[in-house]
């Protein structure tokens, strides 16, 4: 399978994420779109890793899987980050009774 199938998919995911972040006001949806962008990058990482190894070793696709292991690390850190982000959103809801990010446009009060 050529590499740019993966690339197109990743770009599509990433663009959806960006558009979501830009257009939506709901903090949870923005958060989900951010995750989408993150995972688009993860996908690219895995794809490039596999293709790179195929090109260099030729036979064994599992010969070097550093990048794929790296992706697991990213997912773990992302999970931790999600928990923090969600906690912030919960606090925000408690304070403003809304998850609309446009309400939070000033530093004071």
């Amino acid at each position: 399978m050529p590499i740019y199938y993966y690339i197109v998919l990743a770009i599509a995911l990433f663009s959806i994420g960006i558009i979501g972040v830009l257009t939506r006001r709901n903090a949870i949806i923005i958060f989900m779109c951010v995750e989408l962008m993150l995972n688009a990058v993860n996908l690219l990482l895995v794809a490039f890793s596999k293709m790179h190894n195929l090109a260099t070793t030729g036979i064994n696709p599992t010969a070097a899987i550093d990048a794929q292991i790296f992706v697991f690390f990213i997912m773990v850190v992302a999970a931790a980050e999600v928990s923090v982000g969600l906690a912030i959103i919960v606090m925000m809801y408690r304070n403003t009774h809304s998850v609309d990010v446009n309400f939070l446009n000033r530093l004071k009060n």
Binding site: I18, V21, L22, R25, V101, N102, L104, N105, R106, L107
Partner: protein, 642 residues
């Protein structure tokens, strides 16, 4: 280092100590004590100077090195004292006359507050210290330190009564005029450094023959500019008459006997340089003579007793410069000495009169003081006779030596110099006896209150007067010209080593025509008879002086207004500078520099107010901007960077 004269460092140090004690302790010291300290230190200096003089007379003329003042790769200045015939003579004049004036001051300034009294003495001591440094210095830098010091003290003492704003202006005028001259001196010193890397007298004088005419003329002209400032010559003389704002003893010490002769000392000290620069000498002679005439004409019409004396000082200084200009260095130094005696005497006598008159300085309100103040009268008369050039008073010998030297200088110009000089001598006799007659002869013209108050001054005032009067009479006898007595000119033989090199050069270049005895007698006869007529005429005319309200007309008015020189300076120098200053103040400073600085501030303020609007707090906007930025970077990276 084992020279017996090593102790001469005490000469300037003693007045410095006196300055410190009086200056720091001015609130604690009683008047008697500060007067004692002030005069005592000068007496100490005088005694050491006397010792130094005797040593020098016995042939001990050391150059004493104390420490390195400036010591770099290319510039070496030692803190050196040069004790020789010239400086030891000046040391005696400064400390001797200085001591008498200090004693006089203890009585004259007695009405001052305790604090001001001590302040006065501290300034006076500081002045003497600076003057001694000027005279003793072994190079131009040490001389320059003293040179600046005396200028400062002159400023402080002219503005001593600083509550009077006019006096402050006079002090500032003196300081600024002196600064103009000092700049010339300083440039000359730089020039010397550039040529030689040192300013030690003996090195400079040894190397002078290797330099080009341009260098020597330039250096000497700049030095002469310095001398015109300090010694009140055209065009910088106008500060000296205004300097009479200071207390009278100050006028006697600083503005007659010592400081104003600094220029003459400096030129006499560098005589070899000046002899090598005939162009400069010519300028000096002309400027000196012009100053002598101009000041004498102004003095004819002044009514303030101190102003007359001030202009006569300027005029006599002009004579000294004439002497320097025609190469009569001994004559000039001789005149410095006699002038110090009789002019200090005249100023102190005038001070005594002013004291008796309760501060009155206008001669129109005096008259007939002869019968009230006999000692002041007699001593003052002697001073007047001395300055008028009557034999055997001291002024006769020194003035005639200068005039004879001018006459012998060269064929025609010398005669003109002599003629104008003699004319000035007649004027001198006239205005001095006008002063004498208006003050001491005739009837008293002041108020009854003043008449009641008239009294002879106390001993502290009269004793210095008597001593100075004796000196004014006998002071000239050390320089009796050859025609009267072979070998009578002790001063000339004493100063011989200083001026030997110059005399040799002068003799080689133009054979100075030795005057025949007949000519010399004739010259003296003319000047004495002329001066005698002038003084008798003035005495008769002004002893019958009556106060009148008629104002002066014609030339008299011009003279009374001092040829309008102050007004001319005001119009051509002061006013343009003021308008340039106000242009810079209002346009360049306020609109230009302030406008620029404030403009930067305003622009930053305005810009930040606009940029602040970007920080809306809307997260969406931030993200949008971020995405646009990334896209832009992306485009740049992909399509624009090759």
């Amino acid at each position: 280092m084992s020279n017996t004269l090593q102790i001469v460092w005490l000469i300037p140090i003693l007045p410095l100590i006196g300055f410190l004690i009086n200056g720091l302790g001015r609130k604690q010291l009683s008047k008697t004590l500060s007067g004692l300290i002030g005069s005592g230190v000068i007496l100490g200096s005088f005694l050491i100077s006397l010792y130094a003089f005797i040593s020098v007379k016995n042939g001990n003329t050391p150059l004493l090195h104390y420490f390195n003042f400036i010591d770099t790769e290319s510039i070496h200045v030692g803190f050196d004292f040069q004790i020789d015939q010239l400086s030891s003579l000046f040391l005696l004049i400064i400390t001797g006359v200085g001591f008498l004036i200090h004693v006089y001051s203890t009585s004259y300034m007695h009405d001052e507050d305790k604090k001001d009294f001590a302040k006065y003495f501290s300034y006076l001591n500081l002045f003497v210290f600076s003057m001694l440094l000027l005279v003793m210095g072994g190079n131009y830098i040490i001389m320059f330190i003293g040179w600046e010091g005396v200028g400062l003290c002159s400023y402080l003492l002219i503005g001593y009564w600083f509550k009077n704003n006019e006096y402050n202006n006079a002090a500032k005028k003196a300081f600024i005029m002196n600064r103009i001259g000092d700049l010339g001196f300083l440039l000359a010193v730089f020039w010397l450094f550039n040529k030689l890397g040192t300013t030690d007298y003996h090195l400079v004088f040894a190397n002078v023959s290797k330099w080009s005419t341009f260098d020597i003329t330039g250096i000497t002209m700049l030095l002469f500019v310095g001398a015109t400032g300090k010694s009140a010559q055209i065009p910088l003389y106008t500060w000296l008459p205004d300097a009479m704002a200071g207390p009278t003893p100050v006028s006697a010490l600083i503005h007659a006997a010592t400081m104003v002769t600094a220029g003459i000392y400096m030129i006499a000290r560098s005589n070899i340089l000046f002899t090598m620069a005939p162009a400069t000498q010519c300028v000096i002679a002309i400027i000196g003579l012009a100053t002598a005439v101009l000041a004498a004409t102004i003095a004819l019409k002044q009514n303030d007793i101190k102003k007359v004396l001030a202009y006569s000082t300027v005029s006599q200084l002009g004579y000294m410069f004439l002497g320097l200009g025609v190469g009569a260095y001994t004559g000039a130094v001789f005149h410095v000495m006699t002038h110090a005696f009789f002019k200090a005497l005249l100023f102190l006598g005038a001070g005594s009169v002013i004291h008796a008159m309760g501060g009155e300085q206008d001669m129109r309100n005096m008259g007939g003081l002869k019968k009230y103040m006999s000692i002041t009268h007699i001593t003052f008369l002697f001073g007047c006779l001395a300055i008028a050039g009557m034999p055997p008073f001291s002024g006769f010998f020194s003035k005639d030596e200068i005039l004879a030297a001018a006459f012998a200088h060269n064929e025609t110009e010398g005669k003109i110099l002599w003629a104008v000089g003699v004319l000035t001598a007649f004027m001198t006799a006239f205005y001095m006896f006008r002063l004498y007659a208006m003050t001491f002869l005739g009837k008293f013209r002041g108020t009854h209150e003043q008449e009641h108050h008239l009294h002879e001054s106390p001993a502290a005032i009269t004793i210095p007067l008597i001593v100075l009067a004796i000196l004014a009479i006998v002071g000239g006898w050390v320089g009796i010209p050859k025609v009267f007595m072979e070998g009578g000119h002790h001063l000339e033989s004493f100063l011989e080593p200083i001026f030997a090199a110059s005399n040799k050069i002068a003799a080689a270049t133009h054979a100075e025509s030795e005057l025949s005895h007949g000519t010399e007698y004739a010259l003296m006869g003319v000047s004495v008879v002329g001066a005698l007529i002038a003084l008798v005429y003035a005495s008769i005319k002004f002893s019958k002086y009556q106060k009148s309200d008629a104002s002066e007309t014609g030339l008299g008015k011009v003279l009374a207004n001092k040829w309008y020189v102050d007004e001319i300076y005001d119009a051509i120098i002061v006013k343009p500078i003021r308008s340039i200053a106000s242009f810079f103040n209002n346009i360049i400073e306020k609109k230009g520099i302030d406008g620029f600085v404030n403009g930067v501030g305003k622009a930053v303020n305005y810009g930040s107010r606009q940029i602040r609007l970007l920080q809306s707090g809307q997260v969406g906007v931030y993200v949008l901007l971020m995405v646009i930025g990334i896209l832009l970077l992306f485009i740049v990276q992909l399509f624009l960077v090759k």
